[in-house]
């Protein structure tokens, strides 16, 4: 056991939830509460196990830590190879925190086939953590796709009125991107075979392979498309409002909190290092789309009548900012982007959770169905306010730090005007979020049925409080997180730049570094 935890911590983290889910299926369907409690326990255990990860992770060490590797399909060089750096670390923690939170919230709400529900969430967690740990492209792709299935069921079975459309849209959208990426992966590995005579899907091996510029562009676009859809980047975002709106609250929390980040993560981990030149060539367009996303998402969020939909569009805006930070490619902006992913996970997660709190009581997400309830549910209001201000980047809360770093880093990059345009998001976000707050919690209380609105439940309160606490913590002491992100980000930059220089020096296409 000790060995398992010391040597294979990542594997444990990946498969613990799935194993828990398997056990869960033994619980009789009738024991709904037991099933929920068990699932929650598993996710909390997972969280507990991820704490040592956080502690033992040494930012000073280069490369990937907690590495594991077994041959999976030796003849094709596909291996089960894991490892994390600071970027994966913080996202893993985010996942292991948000999963129990969403399950905790669901404790008192979901009633339809609870067992399957809990199982889906645990399976999802496995998929996400696996995606964040995988260092082999084939393995990554497997986890990346497997994630879709539980989410499809979560939206489709426990979702709102238009859940089927939303689930299908979500699945097809995401799939369409990743299928092309699949071919790209095959091609990349094929190149390695062609150049070295050996199959390998291992990132570290493929990083040595050079690609002709034309090929690089195509491959990069294939990868980028898959990730852009997941993020989602501006023109490809329309699946998100539907998915977020129709998904059950817990689903929205994870979808917004974690799944979207995987797009950016994949871009950082694979698309950029593998195809640096193409990435740099296309960075202006990526950044442009990001900027458009910031403004567009914020503008479109404003007229929404559905609370979840509004928050969903705010996600488009926020992730647009993250994309801008990535494209800016300064270490400040990159650190900011990674941090901002965590922040967005916390704030948007909290927002969805609190909207869920209201929804579970009034069974409507219509903004106009509320108003003036601040006096009825002060605690909910307070929490919602904190989440709001975190989301619109009020200094002292987490949102500000990420936002500021991204904008500042972008300003110092070659694309100053991105920063200028993106900064208008500061104004726009205030407009739509405060309008939401006012229309929901303030103004005269017109709907009588809201007078008896029950206050937030303890379980929900705990769930929300955890997130709020984290918001404040990161807002006040961002360096606790940044210290873990910064070295990885700088290492990433270094490796990419080094690879570009090699590529320019060495004649392409040949292995940048012939294998022994």
């Amino acid at each position: 056991m000790a060995l398992l935890l010391s040597k294979h911590l990542l594997s444990v983290l990946i498969f613990l939830p799935l194993a828990g889910g398997a056990v869960l299926l033994l619980v009789p369907e009738s024991q709904a509460r037991a099933a929920k409690a068990f699932a929650l326990a598993v996710s909390i255990l997972e969280l507990a196990l991820s704490v040592p990860l956080w502690i033992q992770f040494d930012p000073r060490l280069p490369g990937f830590q907690f590495a594991e590797r077994f041959e999976w399909v030796p003849s094709l060089g596909i291996s089960y190879s894991l490892g994390i750096d600071g970027i994966s670390l913080v996202l893993i923690l985010l996942t292991t925190i948000l999963t129990p939170v969403s399950l905790l919230f669901s404790l008192t709400h979901v009633s339809k086939s609870v067992r399957a529900f809990s199982f889906a969430f645990l399976a999802l967690e496995t998929g996400v953590v696996g995606t964040l740990c995988a260092l082999d492209l084939a393995l990554f792709y497997v986890f990346w796709e497997v994630m879709l299935v539980p989410m499809y069921f979560i939206i489709g079975i426990w979702g709102g009125s238009r859940r089927i459309y939303a689930a299908m849209k979500f699945f097809l959208f995401t799939m369409s991107g990743s299928l092309l990426m699949f071919l790209a992966i095959l091609y990349v590995a094929g190149r390695h075979k062609a150049l070295t005579g050996e199959w390998s899907f291992l990132l570290s091996d493929l990083l040595r392979v050079g690609f002709a510029p034309s090929a690089q562009t195509v491959l990069f676009l294939a990868f980028a498309l898959a990730f852009a859809i997941k993020v989602p980047v501006f023109p490809l975002h329309t699946w998100l409002p539907d998915a977020h709106t129709e998904a059950p609250t817990a689903g929205s929390i994870l979808l917004a909190g974690v799944l979207l980040k995987l797009g950016v993560y994949g871009y950082l981990r694979f698309a950029l290092p593998l195809f640096p030149d193409a990435a740099m060539r296309w960075a202006p367009w990526v950044g442009l789309l990001g900027v458009i996303g910031v403004v567009y998402g914020a503008l479109v969020a404003f007229p929404q009548k559905d609370m979840k939909r509004l928050v969903a569009y705010s996600s488009v805006s926020h992730l647009g900012l993250v994309v801008v930070g990535i494209a800016a490619w300064t270490s400040t902006a990159l650190s900011g982007s990674v941090l901002q992913m965590v922040n967005h996970g916390l704030s948007t997660g909290a927002l969805f959770l609190l909207v869920g709190v209201l929804y579970e009581r009034r069974h409507t997400r219509e903004i106009d169905a509320y108003g003036g309830i601040a006096g009825v549910v002060p605690v909910t209001t307070a929490l919602f306010l904190v989440a709001t201000f975190s989301s619109i980047g009020l200094p002292g809360l987490n949102g500000f730090v990420g936002e500021f770093l991204i904008l500042l880093g972008t300003w110092t990059s070659a694309h100053r005007w991105w920063s200028v345009v993106a900064a208008t998001g500061v104004i726009l976000s205030a407009i739509y979020m405060l309008t939401l707050v006012q229309r929901v919690f303030w103004n005269p209380l017109v709907h009588e049925e809201n007078r008896a609105l029950p206050e937030i439940r303890p379980s929900e309160l705990v769930a929300a409080a955890v997130l709020v606490a984290l918001m404040v913590w990161i807002g006040v002491r961002p360096n606790d997180v940044l210290d873990r992100i910064r070295p990885s980000v700088e290492a990433l930059q270094a490796s990419v730049n080094a690879r570009r220089i090699q590529a320019r020096a060495g004649a392409l296409p040949i292995p940048a570094e012939p294998r022994p």
Binding site: T238, L405, R486
Partner: protein, 641 residues
Amino acid sequence: MTLPLWLLPALPLAGFLLCLLFGRRLGKTFVSAAGAGSVALATIAAYARLIPFVRGDHAPVVERLSDWITAGPFSVDLSLRLDPLSALMVSFVTFVGFLIHLYSIGYMSHDETNAGYARYFAYLNLFMFSMLVLVLGNNFLLMFVGWEGVGLCSYLLVGYYYDREYAANAGRKAFVVNRIGDFGFLLGMFAIFGLFGSLDFSTVFGAAAADPGRFAPYLTAVCLCLFVGAMGKSAQVPLYVWLPDAMAGPTPVSALIHAATMVTAGVYMVTRCNVLFRLAPDAMLAVAIVGGVTAIFAAVIALAQNDIKKVLAYSTVSQLGYMFLACGVGAYVAGMFHVMTHAFFKACLFLGSGSVIHAMGGEQDMRKMGGLRSKMPVTFWTFLIATLALSGIPPFAGFFSKDAILAGVFEDRRYVLFAVGVVTAGLTAFYMFRLVSLTFAGRFRGTAEQEHHLHESPSTMTVPLVVLAALSVVGGWVGLPRVFSETGDRFGAYLAPIFPALPAHREAGLSHGTEWLLIALSTAVAAGGLLLAWKWYTKDAGREPDAIVRALPGPYALVRDRFRVDELYDAVIVRPFRLLARGLWKVIDVLVIDGVLNAAAFLVELAGDLLRFLQTGNVRNYALGFFLGVVGLMLFVIGAF
């Protein structure tokens, strides 16, 4: 031993947490204790720290608490800075803040719920915290934290009566307009970091002073960005619109946030950055012009307002304009001087108006008041003193600061702006005495049972009034103009270290003669306005005004409707924005993107629905299809040979 600086913000923060977490359960007395008490302690702590500092060589002190944000080349600390400027701000922020907390105990006591009471004091404490952070922060980012923090509190407190739509709107408006300013501030910070590679005051200013030639070309843009921030926070044209609405909040809030402290943050910021501004003369000119325009514009509007708080609000805007005018012409000392004195008398005025409204049972329309002098003497006398101070009647505080500003403007040879300043002074005196007359003089015009309820306010409210009134008298004597005594300007001497040496032509200063002339002029103008108002509104109660209204109804209506600026903004900005947002959503999202995708999906489905009819169920068709396939393949493959 010297108390650590972090204690100053920490105490109100503690009070905030106490009120927030336990306030509802433990009741009003606890809240009062925690809320006002924490601020009282902060004040004591502040003075305990300040007095030795001011007595000593007041060299800047920096206290670094810890690192805060580090990412790539960017790094900023949590560190506080105590120098004459921040010390000055801290001194009156804490003091006035404490007085207003005290006042609030009485004013808010009849607020029905414990929850509301706790909420109020929690916000107020949070504000004190943010304000102190703003003032004490040792780098732009920390200042920005306080900057946004006070914005948040203003938002919360303006919207304190959240169930009244106009209050909620006003709060939101305040925050959003401030955000527009902050946008500028942010860009300014980015630019500064881009230029100097740091956000630390000492580093930035040091570098700027050391090598002006290198940075000067960029600094105009930088300063303008920063000034946009200041315009938002300090309600300058065109971003002033939120301040009058902000009067929807409880009156003490108006006194504290929207008169004494927060709104002057902009002036503080500009003064703080005077090194940069000096290197950007164009920016300074812009500051001066905006200030002057704001001053007279707001003063004119104030002439025709009937809501007592609205008058004070516009007067605040106008006075802020004065301060920026001062900064714009490089008379920072005068500006800060006015900030201080204005804090005293404007707070006093607001609290006085609050006391009146309190007595009138919430009535704010001056036309329904009158003759209150007898009913509430303390309020009246304090109010009168503050009014005189604001009007710039010697020897009250306002006179000295305003005179200093005008002198500065004249000195800078900005004669147009000088004229504007003088006129404004007259208008100020006029509308203030109009206010006093309508409120306190004449006979009561309200309803009977209002009259029956009229009473002087409790001591918790009057004591602060008295204290502030006293300060409104003596507050100005720390900065006597040189014509009175060569060493009289202790204020200027004290602040001197903040400013690098003045450019050459300023060294001479004005001749005594000119200075006397200016004093005489401004005083005369003020007195004139004062007397006119007294004649029109008290002596023979308001016939001339009606005459004027009848004479030129158009202009009068325009002024009364505040030049319809809000309507303008609504038409030019708000509506188009809504339209755009909705259009984007309905057109781009729904119509274009989803439209295309759904169309594609639909076409595939349609193809399936059509193609399935190839499967006719008739074997002959199957055979034919098969055979066609064969022939096709033959043509394709064999045909090639």
